[in-house]
């Protein structure tokens, strides 16, 4: 197999409040011999909020980001579920509506860019699972996650709406997703079965409805804990922020002490690959990761 190479759209969070996500992504890519070209030109995707205010601006900015992956002739990989959603949704709308595509290209022409629709957009999780393959990852495990009980938390925007994502997420079922679970097992860990794994963390209403947000993430975390989870892993930095930094508020709302480490997907892979703690940014967690 030739070396895998992607254009990496980091999104904003990985450059700001979750630096550990970008560090661990680059660290495991190196270990797994995947080449990631950083799309430093890319802007924010609008995080599913800008589109509520200004649809054309949201489409134009996301189309511009894809243009830079197209220029490199590479598939774009995302490391945030919401970046994945906004980018994939823009792509789907432009690819299926020539009039809209012309309209947005009219704007992009002002900065000498053209959206063609030639680059795929997929989340890094599915690049690992579907392109590299679980067996290839398993073969490189140096420190298996033996006896670790890990709850996979998928995050909404990688699995819903399923029709949008099915071309890039290997047809993952939104009702019974299993890619992360399979990965946990391949890394030598024990995947925890719990009902809330495909539920919402509430991140997007955190400011205007903190109670909703805390109840949703609280219900999911406690469900994982009650089914034996010692850690939770997520492919989404927004789910991560909610679950890692807000455990005090969640505990208050749920009336129960919540204290569990939340791992980013590449951190979990990195731990099993034997990458040292400092390269995975484990010190950047509010809820300490003590077991590594």
């Amino acid at each position: 197999m030739s070396k895998l190479k992607y254009a990496l759209y980091t999104g904003c969070t990985a450059r700001e409040s979750t630096p550990e996500l970008l560090m661990s992504t680059m660290a495991i890519a190196k270990e797994l011999d995947i080449e990631l070209v950083l799309l430093d030109e890319a802007s924010c995707c609008g995080a599913s909020h800008l589109q509520d205010f200004d649809d054309q601006l949201s489409l134009t900015l996301n189309a511009r980001n894809i243009c830079y992956a197209e220029k490199l002739g590479l598939t774009m990989v995302t490391i945030c579920n919401t970046c994945q959603l906004n980018t994939a949704m823009t792509k789907e709308r432009l690819d299926s509506d020539p009039k809209l595509k012309d309209q947005i290209n009219g704007k992009l022409a002002e900065v000498n860019l053209e959206y063609k629709g030639t680059s795929e957009v997929k989340h890094f999780l599915y690049a690992l699972i579907d392109d590299l393959g679980i067996d290839a990852i398993a073969s490189k495990v140096k420190r298996p996650l033996t006896d670790m009980q890990i709850g996979a938390f998928y995050g909404c925007h990688n699995i819903r709406p399923s029709e949008l994502h099915h071309s890039s997420n290997g047809g993952e079922s939104s009702y019974k997703p299993n890619s992360l679970d399979r990965l946990i097992v391949a890394l030598g860990g024990k995947n925890v079965e719990y009902e809330s794994k495909n539920k919402c963390c509430g991140f997007h209403v955190e400011l205007q409805a903190p109670q909703t947000a805390n109840r949703l993430s609280g219900t999911a975390i406690l469900d994982a804990i009650d089914n034996g989870a010692e850690a939770i892993v997520t492919p989404c930095p927004l789910c991560h922020l909610r679950m890692d930094t807000q455990q005090a508020h969640i505990s208050q709302e749920m009336g129960r002490e919540v204290d569990i480490p939340i791992l980013h997907l590449p951190q979990m892979v990195g731990i099993a690959l034997g990458i040292e703690r400092s390269k995975l940014g484990l010190k950047h967690h509010v809820s300490d990761v003590k077991f590594v």
Binding site: T13, S43, C44, Q51, E110, Y175, Q208, A209, A248
Partner: protein, 328 residues
């Protein structure tokens, strides 16, 4: 269930009679399922062949009346539409049939949908217009105008989206995806004159559009595939188009991306929270911000990263932006 033959399957069925039972329980039925049979065939067989007291709603059997919605292994299902074989492919051979909302069960699959209908009524889900009682001509709607409704009129009020919505589950006030999709349906109708009135109702934090958690559960649950969350997004846009967006934390949170992107290309996370909450409101985030700062999770203004080719982004923000908000 790939084979064309009949197959025996085990169904666990939620049972509860609010008049006589203290707690619900599950009955198990082993039922032979023929290829192509839908969940409603199973419900019928349970009632007709196993237990005549089993209760569920049903009427048209054609996916139009919306009566027979239930949950199978937690998945919102229209019993007359969803094939048992598809559910077996998804969940395996042990299927659990439950009402849409167990906490509202009256008897078995029959639930009290009172709150659902009350919220539904609150958006005036009908055409608001002065009707000439003696019309001189047809009230024509062009195909282009009809298209704006974008399938929102396909809603059969089954409640699958509403009872799958996590925001509804934890926030009693939230009117939910079904009523909001219907609000959009009439707001998008060129004959309607109730748009501003509806926007007033759905624009409040608590019951309204700003409490949608953006999980897309409604889009998955809708048997008519009318994408309720897509309609909620359009309602957001309408509040700005009609200049009715209120100067509150949720609105500023949506608006605040634009100045940040124009300045840095990327989102300045800290500044967005300050912009949304205001200088006083932001103080409640200080304890968490301190914890995050200690862990290297807060970028100081002088270290804020910027996108390369920022000039392009500045040009596009000026040129492509169409929305206005007067609050700020």
């Amino acid at each position: 269930m790939v084979s064309e033959d009949k197959k025996k399957l085990l169904f666990s069925v939620f049972r509860f009679n609010s008049e006589t039972d203290y707690l619900p329980y599950y009955d198990k039925f082993e039922i032979e399922v023929k290829p192509g049979e839908v969940v409603l065939d199973i419900l019928n067989r349970i009632k007709w062949e196993h237990d005549g007291s089993f209760s569920y709603r049903r009427s048209c059997r054609h996916g139009i009346c919306g009566s027979c919605a239930v949950k199978v292994n937690g998945k919102a299902t229209l019993a007359c539409k969803d094939r048992v074989s598809d559910l077996v492919d998804l969940f395996g051979e042990e299927l659990i049939i439950e009402p849409q909302d167990k906490s509202r069960a009256i008897k078995d699959m029959v639930i009290d949908k009172g709150t659902f209908w009350k919220k539904y009524d609150s958006v005036k889900p009908y055409l608001v217009a002065d009707i000439n009682e003696v019309p001189q001509a047809e009230n024509l709607v062009s195909p282009e105008d009809a298209e704006k409704i974008d399938e929102a009129d396909y809603c059969i009020q089954c409640g699958n989206c509403y009872y799958s919505c996590p925001a509804v589950e934890v926030n009693d006030e939230y009117i939910g995806p079904s009523a909001l999709a219907l609000a959009y349906r009439f707001n998008a109708d060129v004959r309607d004159e109730g748009k501003r009135d509806r926007l007033e109702t759905i624009n409040e934090i608590g019951p309204g559009i700003w409490n949608c958690v953006k999980c897309f559960e409604c889009a998955e649950a809708c048997p008519k595939e009318l994408d309720p969350i897509g309609k909620i997004t359009r309602l957001h846009l309408q509040t700005f188009e009609e200049d009715m967006a209120k100067d509150n934390v949720a609105v500023r949170h949506a608006v605040g991306f634009k100045p940040s992107i124009e300045k840095h290309g990327l989102l300045d996370e800290g500044e967005l929270v300050r912009y949304s909450e205001g200088n006083i409101g932001v103080l409640k985030h200080v304890p968490v911000a301190i914890k995050m700062f200690k862990k290297g999770k807060i970028i100081m203004p002088w270290n804020m990263p910027q996108s390369k080719n920022l000039d392009e982004i500045k040009t596009l923000v000026k040129s492509a932006s169409t929305a206005k908000f007067k609050g700020k």
